[in-house]
Symmetry: C2
Subunit: 339 residues, 2 copies
């Protein structure tokens, strides 16, 4: 059995689970970005008819979950587990959005790494023979996140040039034991990494070392050439974090080059005034569920390394002078079972 272990942090899936469906529903700003054509639905009103940002975020989760099932033509009782989490205190977007699902539920917390964590766990549950279908889903909302982590929107605070814009929406995937691909062939689970960055307005700088640590571990564990993947996508370092990541990897002789990209860089256009780029659990997740999944299905991408990366701070920890611990989980997605 132990040959599922590849080095310290990487696991090979014997019967690679399949991403059989995805869905993403996003807000108006995301719907004006360069990846707009790949989302299932764009909602014009960030409240989506609800009375609060938090209730709206739950609605995004609820509707996206329904969309995943309908895209997969799967009945609700066909899902073995839902693995979900979000940025809100006590993950209420997920639990309230999914409380009517009637499906065994595991809540996770990994900030922007959430979709990587849930897909890693979901893939192991399927490969281990415990599940046939697992839904991994997450959400974030610009307004609820600003309110909780930074300033009330009504204050009109000026944002730092290094700050990132939390993506509004929900996105998720259905992982299945059977299907024609794309497949999850390996996962590399990240350690908590904290190099002492304390600036909560520069999350990219805080998160880059965690992404570098996991990418380094992935290539160490697998021995794969550094140019093996068609694309290596972190999420969500933004433009500043991506540059730091490239430097950190280069200093460890890992040169990925132009195929190194980031969900936070991809989801918005520079003209959209988002400073260093997008962020939030839904950023990387919606890039995966939309653009990346479509590109894999069409064969434009054949093998990618997705590295969702989260900053595990809270407003309380920042107020108490703590630095920002981060974590990144890598997921290998391939059209053909290889490696």
């Amino acid at each position: 059995m132990l040959d599922k272990k590849v080095g310290k942090q990487t696991r090979r899936l014997h019967n690679p689970p399949v991403i059989t469906a995805t869905a993403s529903i996003v807000g108006p700003k995301e719907g004006k970005g360069p990846l707009a054509a790949h989302f299932d639905l764009t909602v014009d009103d960030e409240l989506w008819g609800e009375k609060t940002w938090e209730k709206a975020e739950s609605k995004f989760v609820k509707e996206t979950y329904a969309k995943i099932l309908s895209n997969a033509s799967l009945a609700a009782n066909g899902v073995d587990y839902i693995i979900a989490g979000d940025l809100l205190n006590q993950s209420i977007a997920s639990t309230f959005g999914l409380r009517d699902s009637g499906v065994p539920f595991y809540g996770v917390y990994g900030a922007c790494s959430t979709i990587g964590e849930s897909m890693g766990l979901g893939a192991m549950l399927i490969d281990g023979g415990f599940a046939s279908n697992v839904v991994c889903i997450t959400s974030s909302h610009f307004c609820s996140a600003e309110k909780q982590f930074r300033f009330p929107l009504e204050l009109g605070s000026q944002r730092a040039p290094t700050s990132q814009w939390t993506v509004t929406g929900s996105a998720g995937v259905l992982l299945s034991a059977e299907g024609t691909g794309p497949f999850i062939t390996k996962i590399t689970t990240g350690k908590v990494v904290d190099l002492g960055i304390k600036d909560q307005n520069n999350m990219g700088a805080a998160m880059a070392p965690a992404a570098a640590d996991t990418i380094y571990a992935h290539f160490e564990d697998t021995g794969l050439p550094h140019d093996y993947y068609d694309m290596v996508i972190t999420g969500d370092l933004g433009s500043i974090g991506l540059e730091i990541l490239d430097d950190l990897l280069s200093s460890n002789d890992i040169r990925i080059g132009k195929v190194l990209n980031d969900g936070g860089v991809m989801i918005f256009d520079k003209k959209q005034d988002v400073h260093a780029g997008g962020s939030g659990c839904c950023c990387c997740a919606s890039v995966l569920a939309g653009y990346l999944y479509d590109s894999l299905k069409k064969g434009k991408l054949r093998k990618i390394l997705l590295v969702p990366t989260g900053a595990l701070l809270s407003p309380t920890s920042v107020q108490q002078g703590e630095s920002i611990p981060c974590v990144a989980h890598a997921i290998v997605i391939e059209n053909v079972i290889g490696g």
Copy 2:
């Protein structure tokens, strides 16, 4: 492979993982309770020399993790995964307490069900061949929880008769692929259940239906007689919730009788002025790591069903008039692989 599935919600572990070590470190009030002799360490000062309750809670986690490893005589690099979570916003007790561990890390959120969620996931990762050793650990702290969920302690607010007392401390287990027992033989993963209770000072009433739902599913899935277990322990319904649970189970013709108990009822003496009993992630976890584990090791208990139960609310959801969704995960622990 599918014979690992037992009905809709229950899974049988083919090579049942072993609880090879436990540890618990608790605060002064817990150290005066009836289970005091079973904790590894009682700390007299709830701040444990730290400047804030949150930093103290992280220290409980850090020291308990170290104690688990030393109780198991296991080096830090022998742990494949840590699965951890707590009640604090963004789970900072866990992430800050474990940031120096150097071990692949999965954060979970299940409120007081956390130890059930982490042990369920950990057991499946081991049985699936992905890990040899997994640490499942959690924490709670009376002072940080009151501050975050209710009122500042300095206010001296009167507590409702139905309220429960959050346990201060951290507790966890090491699950391993090899060992002499006790074994985790089955798990039943809970669905989110919300029957519309809105009183955040009566968590027992809110959580009882989730515990009942999972216990009912467990006996439905397995077909085991209702008197199969030496003890069925929920956590943490307290005295009021336990009574409601007994009624709910009886109305479904499940009569467990005197062996139905609750971590929140067991951990404090009625004279300790805790109203309806204990609560918090560490309540059920420390009862398991201490009294229950010792009783299993000595053969005083041979087979138990542990049902950690969590209320997935937040102060924001309460303020917005929402009811309280809950979840319970059942873990079967047996000295001999049976069933």
